[in-house]
């Protein structure tokens, strides 16, 4: 995979945190999706959030992007406490999001989706500038999209995901959140997204990345925050944690279904006919 070696130095050192969450709780009726969650992201740092299905990862992203208001807790952005009550608030702060369900308008074409809500020339759209910028962004992601003037409805799943990622890069974000950005991507596009995440880090953006793919996480993340049943279950420096330890934190036990499987496979591999 075309990814750079993992950075090992402490990236939070000295620069301070651009985003800090303290005690974030979010309940949906009787369900506590998030309980007392803390998270810090520094400039130029990639933080991965991992956890089982339903652990609350997407909910955390939605709280930060203004889709859901938190039930309680504080969000500090660039040193001052903020409330993010609408997606427009998040946009103004410079928090861009790629949602797990992508949130694209199927009836609009690629350019219209990319610039939705941030069109160039509100009273007289500059279609040319928007199309040029669209191609630029899509090239950067090695997008395999034949034309930007077709409705998103007729794109493949991976093409749509690329459009959603390209969307998040418009308009100078300070924090980019990607909720399972590579779930539907091909090999080359996944590598491009990982490259992109590293470029974002080099440019000094904070990146929050959600993934179920431990290889991807270990390839680009600086720190990994584990969520389990809506609570913090440890924050690890990627350089000093193994896959097994992460899986143990995710599932909540060192004796879990994943270790059992690998033990079984190990036994089979050693084989009987010794």
């Amino acid at each position: 995979m075309a990814t750079a070696p993992v950075m090992e130095q402490d990236r939070t050192g000295g620069t301070g945190h651009v985003l800090s969450l303290r005690g974030i709780t979010k309940t949906f009726g009787a369900v506590a999706a998030l309980t007392d969650v803390d998270l810090d992201v520094a400039r130029g740092e990639v933080v991965a959030i991992v956890g089982d299905n339903g652990a609350g990862k997407s909910t955390l992203v939605k709280v930060l992007s203004g889709v859901h208001a938190p039930t309680s807790g504080t969000i500090t952005f660039e040193g001052s406490e903020v409330t993010i009550s609408t997606p427009a608030d998040a946009q103004r702060l410079g928090i861009a999001t790629v949602f797990q369900d992508l949130a694209l308008c199927e009836n609009l074409n690629v350019v219209e989706n990319l610039f939705l809500g941030q069109e160039i020339g509100p009273a007289r759209l500059d279609e040319v500038a928007m199309e040029v910028k669209s191609w630029e962004l899509l090239r950067e992601l090695s997008a395999k999209i034949p034309t930007v003037r077709i409705p998103v409805a007729s794109l493949s799943g991976g093409q749509r995901q690329t459009v959603a990622i390209a969307r998040s890069l418009l308009g100078d974000p300070k924090i980019v959140m990607l909720d399972e950005p590579t779930a539907a991507l091909g090999v080359a596009q996944t590598a491009e997204v990982l490259n992109l995440i590293e470029r974002l880090r080099e440019r000094g953006f904070g990146v929050i990345m959600i993934s179920h793919n431990m290889a991807d996480v270990q390839a680009v993340a600086d720190r990994v925050a584990v969520l389990r049943l809506g609570r913090n279950n440890g924050v690890f420096r990627v350089s000093d944690v193994s896959s097994e330890e992460l899986v143990a934190a995710i599932t909540g036990a060192s004796d879990n279904v994943v270790t059992q499987r690998s033990a079984r496979r190990g036994a089979i591999a050693k084989g009987e006919p010794a």
Partner: protein
Amino acid sequence: MSGTDVEPATEPTAARVATDLQDERLSQGAGGLKGALAGLGSRVRGGDLGVIPVVAGLVIIAVVLQSLNSQFLSAANLENLLLECVPVGVIALGIVFVLLVAEIDLSVGSISGLSAALLAVFYVDRGQSVVLAIAVAVGSGVLIGLLYGQIFNRIGVPSFVISLAGLLAFAGLQLAVLGTKGAINLPFDSALVKFAQLQFMPDWLSYALVLAGGIGLFATGFARAQARRKASLSAQSTVSLAVRSIALIVLVGAFVAYLNDSRGIGYMFVFFLALVLVMHYVLTRTKFGKSLFAVGGNAEAARRAGINVRRVYASAFVLCTTLAAVGGVLAAARLAAANQQSGGGDVNLNAIAAAVIGGTSLFGGRGSAFAALLGILVIQSISNGLTLLSLDSSYRFMVTGAVLLLAVGLDSVARRSRASSGRA
């Protein structure tokens, strides 16, 4: 826009392929006019019918009705037909906006009737100036839209129910406003009635406008093509732009000349046309227009893109009810009266049918301002032709119903073939 009549941006030095045509899976059409026609052909086969079915329908209707009654295509009748289109056409234009955000307004007829009643009461009974009377009438439309928007956004009542309640309530209010008399005539010599019945463009002005329209179409198309070439994007060839503009000038010019033999084009129709063009600009060239399509396509995605979805819904309702009130004023002017029947009968359903027949989707996210114009032309042609044949409204209702079903059916078939050819 969607990949038709494209010509690779040609650079003097090398045959470079435009940025947007580099994917090898894109079929590279021939450039120029031939390419334009080929592109149109493949678009139609792919189910992207655009305005073709409506225009074809209009031609068929014209041929049939003309063969049944030779008066149908006479200049005098066509002039009349165009003017008859305007009041309900303006209302249909408003319907396009609510349909775009996947909502509905069933009360436009009652709102137009109430507006007509208010106009007549303030202008005739109270002797106010016509400007004030129009302001009150149209203002009532604005207020009703604001009310609908609040109820929809804050309480979450479906627009179907809100407007069904409005249909009844405002029909009642109309009766109350008209009082015991039940009908108020507008003076025939008032500017408003003259505007709707008697004022036609002088010949020179009509030709000048056609010419200006053709040249304007070419100029904007050419400017866009130049800008795209400069940015090394594909652009429409100058020849096909010129052919399009000349065709427009010749066809519309001939039609105008034909009408000019009689009285010509009524000012009220010009007003409608201007309104359609303005709304077309709003829908296709502004941020607000895009937000309407976005909300109709996926309201949650629009919200997450930072669009104030509630405001978009409220604007759509206000535009619709305001245009309905304007339609009511024009209907009163055309009739030179407001009465208990104003805005009743088939006004409501004709306005909605016109928007749909013209190609606006009932499910949101698809449609155009021209849908209102083309749809109302279809409906009024049928109504006018059947009246010439001295058939009563029973036939009119049945034929209009059949045409509506045909239009929606055609759209459903087209949608399926769009889905299979990637133009959904």
